[in-house]
């Protein structure tokens, strides 16, 4: 039985000398370059300390040095997996500053791409959790299906991950012929695959045994650490930026926000975090079906961005719901060709804060699965 409370750790402690173990900066179980220092009592983690900052590349300073015309490309580097969300947040903030009214077609394209990226990232999360649970079959199946979504993204934007596709006032290119049909085909395929994933992995007894009541994130801890996104919703916190502060076309769409309920274990455990993402995949498929049925005609961009593009003096704050949680961008313009300040508030900041507490009292064998279930991104944390 997995012990996850420190009181129970004391009752059944092996009473050995504590072993110090340092993992990182590179380790297969870690989400990226970071150091994890553990004190082990036999197989149980007595305490954990983390050290991050290895991937800091001075991104926010780079924004101030480059021109506004380069800002979208730089925003890709906040999180290469979910590059679209950082681009979208930045463009939303600048468009609010400049009081730009986007063409309806551009808004529709952005919303479609937002959900396709969300799907791709949730499938990647599935693959990471399956890998951590040593289910190679599920890992390969999901990565194979994720390729269909990456092909869609490449068809529209020309790239698979760091897309550099959005522009202030619209998008770089229009939807090509056949794109809508391929989106619908991919949605149909994923609907079938979701059932296969459930049969193969989600309710597989081996995974349920490892994931239920392990790595429980309580609602109080979620609020204290400021966690948002699927990890918070798995713990029962009903907050989704698409519902609370709607942007793009989300106010017109009919979709649900799944919450964790402790179906096979405890609310907020690994299995809940996994299930919430599976259900969000279902909701994203629903959203995409609604979107592609009514893509408006018209222009896809207001104007061409030139290197001497200037943003009016002022400041703005925009937030989007990325696949990990709320991604906020605060921009300040002094009226010149270079930004005065671009600051990102990323969901991984809250997630990393709870790692030491979550690992305390767990078995060492659960470490990889707990970290994978949180969906941490060292890249966006360090920037």
């Amino acid at each position: 039985m997995t012990i996850f409370k420190t009181e129970r750790l004391c009752e059944t402690s092996y009473e050995t000398d504590l072993i110090s173990m340092t993992m990182g900066p590179y380790h297969a179980s870690l989400p990226g370059p970071m150091i994890l220092r553990l004190k082990l009592d036999g197989e149980m983690i007595e305490s954990a300390e983390i050290e991050t900052g290895f991937l800091h590349k001075g991104l926010e300073k780079s924004f101030e040095i480059q021109n506004w015309s380069s800002a979208v490309i730089l925003a890709d580097h906040v999180d290469p997996e979910g590059s679209f969300f950082a681009e979208l947040a930045l463009c939303s903030a600048v468009e609010e500053l400049g009081e730009l009214e986007l063409p309806a077609r551009a808004v529709s394209i952005r919303t479609i791409l937002s959900e396709v990226f969300r799907l791709a990232n949730h499938l990647l999360y599935f693959a990471k959790v399956a890998k951590a649970a040593r289910s190679e079959t599920a890992f390969h199946y999901v990565m194979r299906d994720r390729e269909k979504l990456l092909d869609l993204i490449e068809l529209l934007t020309g790239a698979r991950s760091s897309i550099g596709f959005l522009r202030f006032g619209g998008v770089t290119a229009d939807i090509t012929e056949g794109f809508i049909e391929r989106v619908l085909d991919s949605c149909d395929l994923l609907r079938v695959r979701l059932k296969e994933y459930n049969d193969l992995f989600t309710y597989n007894q081996a995974f349920v045994f490892r994931a239920s009541s392990v790595g429980v994130l309580s609602r109080e801890l979620v609020k204290k650490a400021g966690i948002t996104g699927p990890a918070a919703r798995a713990s029962g916190l009903d907050y989704d930026v698409r519902k609370k502060n709607p942007y793009l076309m989300y106010s017109e769409l009919d979709f649900g926000v799944p919450l964790g309920g402790g179906e096979v274990g405890t609310q907020g455990d690994i299995h809940d975090r996994f299930l919430v993402r599976l259900r969000e995949i279902e909701q994203s498929l629903l959203i995409l079906k609604q979107l592609v049925e009514k893509v408006p005609s018209g222009e896809f961009s207001l104007f061409q961005i030139t290197p001497d593009f200037e943003v009016p003096i002022g400041e703005a704050y925009a937030r989007v719901e990325s696949s990990r949680g709320r991604l906020g961008v605060y921009v300040v313009s002094s009226g010149s060709v270079k930004p005065h300040r671009v600051q990102f508030s990323v969901p991984s900041q809250g997630l990393f804060a709870v790692v030491p507490q979550l690992l305390k009292g767990c078995y060492l064998e659960d470490l990889g699965l707990i970290l994978a279930s949180l969906d941490l991104s060292v890249t966006e944390l360090d920037r």
């Binding site: 305490s47 954990a48 300390e49 983390i50 050290e51 991050t52 900052g53 800091h56 001075g58 926010e60 300073k61 040095i65 609010e96 009081e99 609020k223 204290k224 650490a225 400021g226 907050y239 609370k244 400041e315 703005a316 704050y317 937030r319 709320r326 906020g328 605060y330 300040v332 005065h340 300040r341 600051q343 508030s345 900041q349 809250g350 990393f352 804060a353 790692v355 030491p356 944390l381 360090d382």
Partner: protein, 192 residues
């Protein structure tokens, strides 16, 4: 809009002497209150009492010789938002060793700000006076040991070298300058 005005009126009535300015933020006209940095505690306690228990973001910018702190607060129950803002002057003289800016920490009220306060203490040179026990199980060190200066400040000068390692390129230098020393290198494609 009425509730936003009501909130601002309540704040002005209650803290008239500590409020420097009241205005709105952004196109959504979110109420914004400028206060003196030393008044953070009383405002934070009041706002938490009013339901603003969630701090979405703390943004710091270097503006004309001062650091402007902007707290984006929201109420999970009502969905209302408010922006709290304060300014700290950057000490002029670096030689005196007072390059750090001393600021009030908001960790006691919004613990989720720990990561951001740690970042700003390194990147902007801010010393937060917090009575809370800092989370010592997470070491968030963005800059290498021995790094001099605060990169996000506007007067920051990029170093040309760091521990005898040459910087990639100093700001203002062109890429062509990097190849000046290779004029005697053998040509790969033969004579042009």
């Amino acid at each position: 809009m009425e509730s936003k005005n009501k909130l601002l009126q309540q704040i002005k009535a209650r803290f008239s002497s500590r409020v420097l300015k009241v205005s709105v933020f952004g196109s959504q006209c979110i109420p914004m209150v400028w206060i003196d940095g030393s008044a953070l505690k009383i405002f934070a306690e009041y706002l938490i009492q009013e339901g603003f228990s969630n701090c979405e973001n703390l943004a710091v910018i270097d503006l004309e010789g001062a650091l402007v702190f902007t707290y984006f607060l929201s109420s999970p129950e009502s969905g209302e938002q408010i922006v709290l803002r304060m300014t700290y002057l950057i000490p002029v003289s670096r030689e005196s060793g007072d390059a750090y800016v001393n600021a009030q920490s908001a960790l006691a009220f919004w613990p989720s700000l720990w990561a951001q306060e740690s970042e700003y203490s390194e990147l902007f040179g801010v010393r937060f006076n917090s009575t809370q026990n800092k989370e010592n199980s997470w070491s968030l060190g963005l800059l290498p040991e021995g790094w001099i200066g605060f990169p996000l400040r506007k007067d920051y000068v990029f170093p040309t070298e760091f521990f005898d390692l040459l910087h990639m390129r100093a700001i203002g230098q062109s890429a062509a300058d990097d190849y000046q020393d290779y004029s005697d290198a053998p040509s790969l494609g033969g004579d042009a």
